[in-house]
Point group: C2
Chain length 294, copies 2
DNA sequence: AACTTGTTTTTTATGGATAATGATCAGACC
DNA sequence: GGTCTGATCATTATCCATAAAAAACAAGTT
């Protein structure tokens, strides 16, 4: 049976919306809430019904008013707001990167299903999607093989990444002065400087900034295949470094410096300089990753 | 219930094996047949049982002998040897490229399942795999959207293709004289010349040669992401041109000429020449594709 | 007429069942 | 000991069922 994670997530979000309203105030229409919560009206109504049942709001004919501020206690726990398929992703990553899965390990749909407590349908679906990351391979009629989070994986990943990022950086530099990206890149620089100034306490915020930075550069000339590849990179960094915190602060500080150099190069419009800064950053990122794998 | 397409394919293949044997001759062991047919011994035994039941072979204790040559009539029809998931691929491609699916069309799992006569599970699985081709996109909890086989698809595809092929061609040229690839590229040239000499009757053989040629060049420095992208290219050309035969002969003749030029450039080891030949070929292929889409 | 909410229909996400296939175990043969 | 076949067990491919969520329809309000 389908889980009601969408409802629970919407319920939690609704709590945040209600907290911006005063008791006695009238709620927005179902349609407005639908847009705000990003779910269907069916789900909105279910949330409203739940709120009513808890006495948080009072439903009248054709209107609803806030009765009392909901407390944080009413929230559903985070885990219950994740679709099974999302939970599977996390479980699988953990199994792969932390459990002793070595290159060549055979992946058994049935066994994974049992281990994670989900139906094999879900596992199959997940593996089919996960295939694009290049870490597993299918053998027809006989399950999957884990190819390993190995050095050659990292090298192949970075070979492509270098091609794509150099391409984007060059196109970026070719944009006219009137383009809004120059403003965006400036605020990007500011964000980097801010983070650098406070690096000791905020170094963990870098991961998100990194992703934003590279996506900004990549967005100048959209290409669906490059965007799809950015998902691969994001996955690798998200999960790998989530469980591999060694030297995190130093690593991030270095990367910020490289980003700033690249920003400067971009602003100079000097292709040779850009190429150099870009390659320098990617080489350093590659070495860091390789180092953390070994 | 699972279909027995593996069995039927193996059965057909076994017919071909039996035709190389004389009546009265003893069959290879189950294990040997398993290796030849590329299936499990369970399936081999089922095939042998079928052959026995039809009187084609005679099963004795610990041996089996050919009784009579199987006739082609005993073969299972081709369609029955394709797994449901493979049939779905064809059906979907046909729906997409020939049926009136225009950009933005919503893809409905249930409806497709009904139309193709298969369970929605299969459709979901297929769509998840198909996602990597960049032609469809998922909206959570609400199906898929067909993005269209459009000009921008072709342009984005070729942008990546150019990066990858130029990279491979350069690496190719850097291989030492002692490498076996130089021999392979020579026989590749011969195959092209042969086809060219007989272009009027054999122009349809080019598609397969094209794929082999590009894979040979790509194989010099394996990269899983590039290989995966070659699947995208293969899919596009296979299905698109399967239903779009306009100017096929002329198109292929031109491409053969470009391949020959690239081969010559590779053998010269001159990077500038290689780049030019490679780019020329890709530009021409891109224009051809764009032209056939419009 | 544009927006509401109430109701019904359709579709998706997930679990479960089963025949076909693959993998494993156990004697038999040489 | 290695290879063969017979028998059993485990896994995959496929279908089907169902609650949750989305979409469509209908009718009431302003």
């Amino acid at each position: 049976m389908r889980t009601d994670t969408t409802f629970k997530r919407a319920f939690n979000d609704m709590i945040d919306i209600l907290r911006t309203l005063d008791p006695g105030e009238e709620l927005p229409s179902e349609n407005a809430l639908r847009a705000q919560l990003g779910v269907s009206r069916t789900t909105v109504r279910k949330v409203l019904a739940g709120m009513s049942a808890r006495g948080i709001i009072i439903s009248d004919v054709h209107r609803r008013i806030v009765h009392e501020q909901p407390s944080q206690i009413d929230r559903y726990p985070q885990e219950e707001t994740l679709a099974i398929s999302e939970q599977v992703e996390t479980s699988f990553m953990e199994w792969m990167l932390r459990g002793g899965a070595c290159p060549g390990t055979e992946i058994n749909e049935t066994e994974l299903g049992r281990k994670f407590g989900v139906a094999t349908t879900i596992i199959r679906e997940f593996l089919n999607r996960f295939q694009k990351y290049g870490l597993i391979e299918k053998r027809p009629n006989a399950g999957w093989v884990f190819k390993g989070f190995t050095a050659s994986f990292a090298l192949e990943l970075f070979e492509i990444r270098e091609m794509f990022e150099m391409r984007s950086a060059r196109l970026f530099a070719g944009l006219p002065d009137s383009s809004p990206v120059w403003k965006q890149i400036q605020s990007m620089r500011a964000a980097h400087l801010e983070l650098l100034a406070d690096i000791d306490s905020r170094f963990q915020d870098f991961s998100e900034l990194d992703s934003r930075f590279h996506r900004l550069i990549g967005a100048v000339a959209p290409n669906r295949f490059i965007e799809s590849f950015q998902d691969v990179i994001a996955m690798v960094f998200h999960y790998h470094y989530q469980w591999n915190k060694r030297d995190e602060r130093a690593r991030n500080e270095v990367a910020i410096g490289e980003h700033l150099a690249l920003i400067e190069a971009l602003e100079s419009r000097d292709i040779a300089l850009i190429d150099r800064a870009c390659r320098l950053h990617l080489t350093s990122a590659r070495e860091t990753l390789l180092h953390s794998i070994a």
